[in-house]
Subunit: 426 residues, 2 copies
């Protein structure tokens, strides 16, 4: 059976997830999360002539800049993209939080914490052949929640088994050994695996989520970053040879967070607050994850739990005077303005400036793991991300893209918003 | 005298302005403010192959994204760029403010309101031939403060006289009639006039400030916007044929501020507050300027003057609950976080969301002047702008560019930060 006939056999079906409707076009869909990609990375690599396929996509399709969910972290935004909802709905508001029931600090990597259905599981339910491939094993469980399809990470590619991951022999599929998670290859492997599944017609509805290893280490103009985006572009070119509709966005941007001498620019918030206000204060850093060499658990977002709620006002006023912090909110305001789940948020939430990260105490962080300076994310200045669709948008979706577009509108745009040749504009 | 010999005759001199030092390299300098240019405009035009000269600049020199001053308005940021300081120092915090002495609402277009010296005047004092050309007449007085050199606007090019503007017969210089301020040509004329002065050796230190007419009307992917950036790029190519060092930044970005039906997405703050809290409240919109067809005096930043200071807390708390507002600060916090001059700020300052503008009352605004929907600026979501230098940066300036770079560091980078062939890295 040829590829074309397989594709045209896909029927137009609709399904609903979390109050939003998705109409499946008769084409394969590929959604890509370019982890840690501020638009600058694309601009610079394109200026160097290294992204000709991205240029073709933008010329034919759509490019704009979308607002990610806050905090601007990987778990949070991958959960938003696959559910089409903000963290206030899906519940994943970091890698790490203080469980109010147990009083324990808990990793939020398990789908047990997910409070919304995923578009991936629903598409599989609607008859699509769904594949979810991520570089980072840490987000696999959340992204594959109740998914009847293929789901694996390049980090643990060798662990993939038909019964548990919907696939085995991933290295054979891609034709190369699974790469180390601390590598550019970790991302490229995800794209190659996705392309192989697409070309072999083992999947027609794909979510491919990369890693920000390169972006944590290199600014956009570094040769290593330009080479990485050049390599990504070659993979994009291979997807352009299929008849899939491509959608590309990111979970968060990336900024240097260091002093002119190259040392990390850190506010040790738990040290400061325990000395001045509350010896029992707990500062939770939701960036904390299994990949400390990326960021040393230092990001631009912190959740503050006070032992005495009466301290909320005084601590907020004091924090607002710290020059390194850009925004400080009490819980009700944070829940409204940052779309956070109230029961997984502390008494106060602080966001750090473009060049500043928040730490707990100097002892808590192993800064020696940072080999190449500190680039990180989590705050307001890593909120804006690219949003790219390989095909022209329908007029009403063009209007929506021009307003307050969100990165988690990606599947809505891919399914409902694209003008396909020969299809009426519904 | 040939161009090369004229250039090498420029000596390396240093001067200080507002506490910062500027070392003049032996080359002409051209600083360009691309009014209203979010980086997306460059990305999309480049993807369409329309900015080959910008690509050459980025390949050889430097591209990053800088933080503008808030509020993200033209007067404010042009004043910041030519003084190298934030509004807390130079005093220009909008086009319009409530004078605390007179109680009157006053235009802030006069240099009488400027509290800092300009780099332009100091460079002229240091012996440079300075030219300041702006599209908008409204900012000429501030930008030419105490400047012994050439200073005129394309809007009022015919009014330029040797005694008052340091130049006459501007149309003859450029070889074309002065354009209407509501046109793409208004910006191109500025660049062409600057290039003519540079090539005729009548200026070797130039500040060229364009207009955001196109950006107020068209999103980055509109053919009109792509054509405009293509035309800008052709002018950039002509500057690249000189031996000038080019620096390019912007005063603010631009976002659509409308509902899906195309109507402006406005919060009429004075109406709301006078009905609920304070009949004598005055909401000042510092975007208000002589070009209402750009934006209908609707921007994403407002200053609130209450008749009773005891209302500050209750009004702030109420405003923080409005979904369309992204940040609300009392005066001391606004002064610190937004770098505002305390005596020209109100009791409260409000910033609107990416897709929202703040109005006074429905009667105050003539929305019919908006011909093509509402795109505007003034808030946090128009804070980030491109920052581009035509030559490679010295290593310490590369480090600074990677951290919290500001658009008003432009002259610092152009004078102190550039690696020139044959010059030691000081």
């Amino acid at each position: 059976m040829g590829q074309q006939s397989a594709v045209s056999a896909l029927s137009i079906v609709a399904f609903q997830v979390n109050g939003r409707s998705y109409h499946l076009p008769p084409r394969p869909l590929v959604a890509i999360c370019l982890d840690g990609s501020s638009n600058e990375y694309l601009t610079v690599a394109m200026a160097h002539g290294r992204m000709p396929n991205l240029q073709r996509i933008i010329q034919r399709g759509h490019h704009s800049v979308a607002r990610a969910a806050l905090p601007s972290f990987t778990n949070v935004n991958n959960a938003s993209i696959v559910t089409g909802t903000p963290p206030s709905i899906h519940g994943i508001c970091g890698n790490f939080f203080l469980d109010p029931v147990s009083g324990q600090e808990v990793m939020m990597n398990s789908s047990a914490f997910l409070r919304a259905e995923t578009i991936l599981a629903a598409a599989a339910q609607a008859g699509r052949k769904v594949a979810m491939i991520t570089a980072k094993e840490k987000i696999r469980d959340i992204l594959s929640h109740q998914l009847k399809g293929i789901a694996f990470s390049s980090e643990q590619a060798q662990a993939a088994r038909l019964e548990t991951h919907g696939i085995d022999q991933v290295e054979k599929l891609v034709g190369e050994p699974a790469p180390n998670i601390y590598s550019a290859q970790a991302s490229l492997f995800v794209l190659r695996a996705g392309l192989a599944l697409l070309n072999q017609q083992r999947a027609d509805f794909l979510f491919l989520s990369l890693t920000d290893y390169i972006q944590h280490r290199f600014p956009p103009a570094a040769p290593e970053a330009i080479d990485f985006y050049g390599a990504l572009d070659e993979e994009l070119g291979r997807f352009l040879k299929t008849d899939a509709i491509l959608g590309i966005t990111s979970d968060h941007g990336m900024n240097a967070k260091q002093l002119p001498d190259g040392q990390p620019n850190v506010i040790y918030l738990e040290s400061l607050l325990s000395a001045k206000f509350d010896p029992d204060v707990r500062v939770i850093l939701p960036i904390t994850d299994p990949y400390p060499a990326h960021h040393g658990a230092l990001g631009s977002f912190a959740v503050i739990h006070l032992s005495n709620p009466n301290l909320t006002g005084p601590v907020q006023n004091w924090l607002l005077k710290r020059p390194g912090l850009s925004e400080v909110y009490d819980r009700p305001t944070a829940v409204r303005k940052l779309e956070l789940p109230s029961d997984r948020t502390g008494d106060l939430v602080a966001l750090a400036r473009r060049d500043v990260v928040i730490g707990r105490t100097p002892q808590y962080h192993e800064l020696e793991v940072l080999q190449n300076g500190l680039r990180s994310h989590g705050g307001r200045y890593e909120e804006m991300v690219p949003f790219i669709i390989s095909h022209p948008l329908k007029p009403d979706y063009l209007d929506r893209a021009a307003a307050d577009l969100r990165n988690f509108d990606l599947f809505d745009f891919l399914t409902n918003g694209v003008q396909l040749p020969g299809l009426p504009l519904s």
